[in-house]
Amino acid sequence: MKKNWWKIIAIVFVLYTIVAGFLVPVPAQPILHETIRNLYFHVPMWFSMMTILFVSLWHSIKYLSRSDIQSDIIATQAANVGMLVGTLGLVTGSIWAKYTWGAWWVADTKLNGAAITMLIYLAYFVLRGSIDEEQKRARIAAVYNIFAYVLLIVFLMILPRMSDSLHPGNGGNPGFNNYDLDKNMRMVFYPAVIGWILLTVWIFTLRVRIEKLKRKKIFND
């Protein structure tokens, strides 16, 4: 129990997000209307993705310095879970975009950034799939992961300067923070971010354990 307190926090916060997210009153905004509640689900997905992809990067660096295959398992599974929450972020964003901007996909810098992130990590998995030898696969995938992540971060920093965005807080649009996000919404939004990040980490630790057990089984058979 001592070790698992954060799992309880994850469950409580996510449950709270779902219940309070749909029930607590939100400010009535033109265009947005009730879709503003998607803020509790869409935005935390991107926070979770960047957190878990950073874990992946960290363990890739660790692999290169220690050559411990455990780090490789962790890096891969983190990237896997990153793709999962990234896909959820794209889906929730796409639905939101349909109701507010009128299209499933619009030309927007943040959408491009998300799409490129997905492409990079899909390429990472294709690269892993094309090398058979375990140590070699781990080493080369780690190099690509570091190379790609750094360029991705640079891109995500340059991108907003290149063109306007439809997202709040970019290109002259007021951010949610300014006046939309009132006290009620903050009370749900901050726990939502923490809850979703913890839940993502939990899924990731489970995946790592499953992967380790699989390898153990292969080893014993």
């Binding site: 492409l119 094309s130 090398i131 080493r139 780690a142 360029l151």
Partner: protein, 218 residues
């Protein structure tokens, strides 16, 4: 020490290239024929945005083709010989420098043929040339590193393309923006973008320098 090694490795690359002239000729012909096909399909292009996009797409594909072979041509025995003599940093830096030279030749030819067939609408040639030069450097450093990665994974060309496309996009977008400014002939040079471009090149070269030693030895 490192400088001397790099010098000899570049001379080695040059000698190999000249011994095998058809590879260089092949890639130059590739650019010219692609441009000729575009010319037959588009005739003249006067829209700056289209002109610019097509130019960079042709150059991107030609660069990937030109650089994909840079680690493939190394045979196992020759690699073993290089391991014993030089440091990995010297190998990657010499390849980057050599490939930059190759891409500078390639992009100049691309610009010449492109403006001959598709039409020349550039109003600020010096800025365009600077962009082209920086672009060659950036493309060569990024693609050299990716080709080193792809060469460890069975040397396949598809892998080279899917690994490089997503990470080359930032560079490509800055280049397209700058060359669009050059075509429109804006009065002031956008120093912001030039700085970003220079920083991007530096980051890519630094990363290649740091990471290559984990790649090359099996």
């Amino acid at each position: 020490m490192l400088g001397k090694q790099i010098k000899y490795l570049i001379i080695k690359e040059l000698k190999l290239e000249l011994r095998n002239k058809y590879a260089l000729g092949g890639i130059l012909l590739y650019v010219v024929s692609t441009i000729f096909i575009s010319y037959l399909s588009f005739k003249k292009i006067v829209m700056p945005a289209t002109w610019n996009a097509l130019f960079w797409i042709i150059l991107l594909f030609a660069s990937i083709n030109a650089i994909a072979k840079s680690f493939i041509i190394e045979t196992k025995g020759r690699l073993l010989y290089t391991y014993t003599l030089t440091s990995p940093q010297a190998v990657i830096l010499s390849k980057i420098i050599y490939n930059s030279l190759l891409l500078i030749v390639l992009s100049s030819l691309c610009l010449l043929a492109y403006s001959l067939f598709i039409g020349n609408i550039i109003q600020d040639l010096p800025l365009f040339l600077i962009t082209l030069l920086m672009g060659s450097l950036g493309f060569s450093s990024l693609l050299t590193m990716v080709s080193a990665i792809a060469s460890k994974a069975g040397n396949n060309f598809t892998l080279m393309a899917i690994l490089s496309f997503p990470i080359i996009i930032p560079l490509l977008m800055v280049l397209i923006k700058l060359s669009k400014n050059a075509i429109d002939g804006l009065e002031h040079w956008d120093l912001n973008y030039l700085t970003i471009l220079m920083l991007l090149n530096l980051i890519i070269i630094a990363l290649s320098y740091l990471l290559f030693r984990y790649l090359w030895r099996d």
